[in-house]
Amino acid sequence: MTQETQIPAQDLPHDAALTHFAKSRRNQLIRAAVIFAGIALVPLAVRDTYLQNVMILTLLYAAVSQCWNILGGYCGQISLGHALYFGIGAYATSVLYVNYAVLPWFGMALGGVLSAAVALLVGKLTFRLKGHYFAIATIVIAEIGLLLVHNWDYVGGALGIQWPITGDSWATLQFARNKLPYFYFALVFLIVTWLITFKIEDSSWGYGWRAVKDNPEAAESLGIEVFRSKMAAAALSAFFTAVGGGFYAAFVAYIDPESVMSFRFSLLFALPAVLGGIGTLWGATLGAALLIPLTEITRSYLGGSGSGIDLIIYGGLIMLVSLMKPEGLLSLFQFRKGRPA
């Protein structure tokens, strides 16, 4: 005997509401297809190599921030240590390729699995912590990871790993002159992470995660396993962040600890989503489209990343957003997910 048979049937069967919702979901997909198709056409117009590089990085950061958003935006666990997972992906892919001739495609997958396992371990240690303590703990753990890699000769220590120079090939993801393949890889990666987020939004995991973010006690009273939810979000987020790291390693063909695991990266993964709209479908992409070109251009003018000026800018941006527009820039456009516009 179930409850639904006992609720009086006087009410409408809600078909209209369900159909309306299904239609709004379909419209979101169509809108996404148009936006991504538009992005795919951009390099046909923009031929400049430097600008294409900036676009590749923008797409990559958008995708990784989309991954960060799964844990930070939907599940509400603000990680400032995602450089650790990015680094694990970059290093796993590089070590496997350079030392064992394992193709980067497998390297990215293995790096993803390793990264998810590490995320579960980190989660076990930190998910009992609340709010700021959790964020601080993730910073510390990522810094410990950075130190370990620095002093680990097997993975190149402070010198890092140089990928060998080979001919252009999709198998090895090496393209010396024409950077377009990287652009389309990064775009597909962004589309995949977007689709995963889209799928999650209307699933038991998605609703559960948002419940955990909004009010863990109430979530528990409704059957949500809070700790397990956080662990699942962390593992998924870390897996795809590592895939991004593996791709980045193949793209730049040379990595060292600072260039994939420094705190700067953790900030750059969190910021686009925070800036654009935390816990939204488009926040990470919008935020990255504004932020990454800006940082790349200032970087090439200010020279290098060692100055720390960029960190000051990011910190300022975070404060600005949280004071002026905590829901992110996307809220200016008023097309919030799930709700008819």
Partner: protein
Amino acid sequence: MSAPSVILETIDVTQRFGGLVANSNVSIKVGRGEILGLIGPNGAGKSTLFNAIAGARIPTSGRILFDGHDITALTAPDRCRLGIARTFQVPRSFDSMSVVENVMVGSFVRASNAREARQLALETLHFVGLGARVEDPAIQLTPPEKRRLEMARALATAPKLLLLDEVMTGLTPSEARLGVELIRKVRESGVTVVMVEHVMEIVMPLVDRAIVLHLGALLAEGKPTEIVRNDAVISAYLGDRHRAA
């Protein structure tokens, strides 16, 4: 299916907070299908007992039996799946979500996909009278609506036992009448209800039985008509209220 007539039993439940004893050897039984009122002065330990029953906090000592299970060591989500649902004295809505999404969190306990969860949530929202607000952000609800939302969320899990912590607080008389009607409807649908309430004019006509807590301990239990005439209850709790009313 022969169900025992007692759906919930607490045995010597004691909850200490440091030196404070919020529940002291509380043993109560709740009959299947009844509406039980849990009353007592502020700080008597009513919400604490709810937390023990719903699994929000494992009591210092004592046992809790529910529907043939010893649930003393079970977590809150486990107890929810067994059929215990609750509202919170201070509403805890999911404020980044819409009204229907709030309720879907509950209906996913029994739905096998999102469409079914949404359908169940919509049905439950119409049942509690929030059918006109399903797409609104939960944060925009008025306090009485938030209490209804909490009831909808809890009911969406298809509970056998529903714990209501002061859901009538702050309602106007006409809203309270609707609330009473709703609770009767819930019981008619086969759900056992335990409700904490301070407004005697509301509780007493509604409940089949009342249990009075005072200073963490059981003070009295019985039919509403017996409780209002109980000397101990009058001097500990009802006295001032009756004069005030």
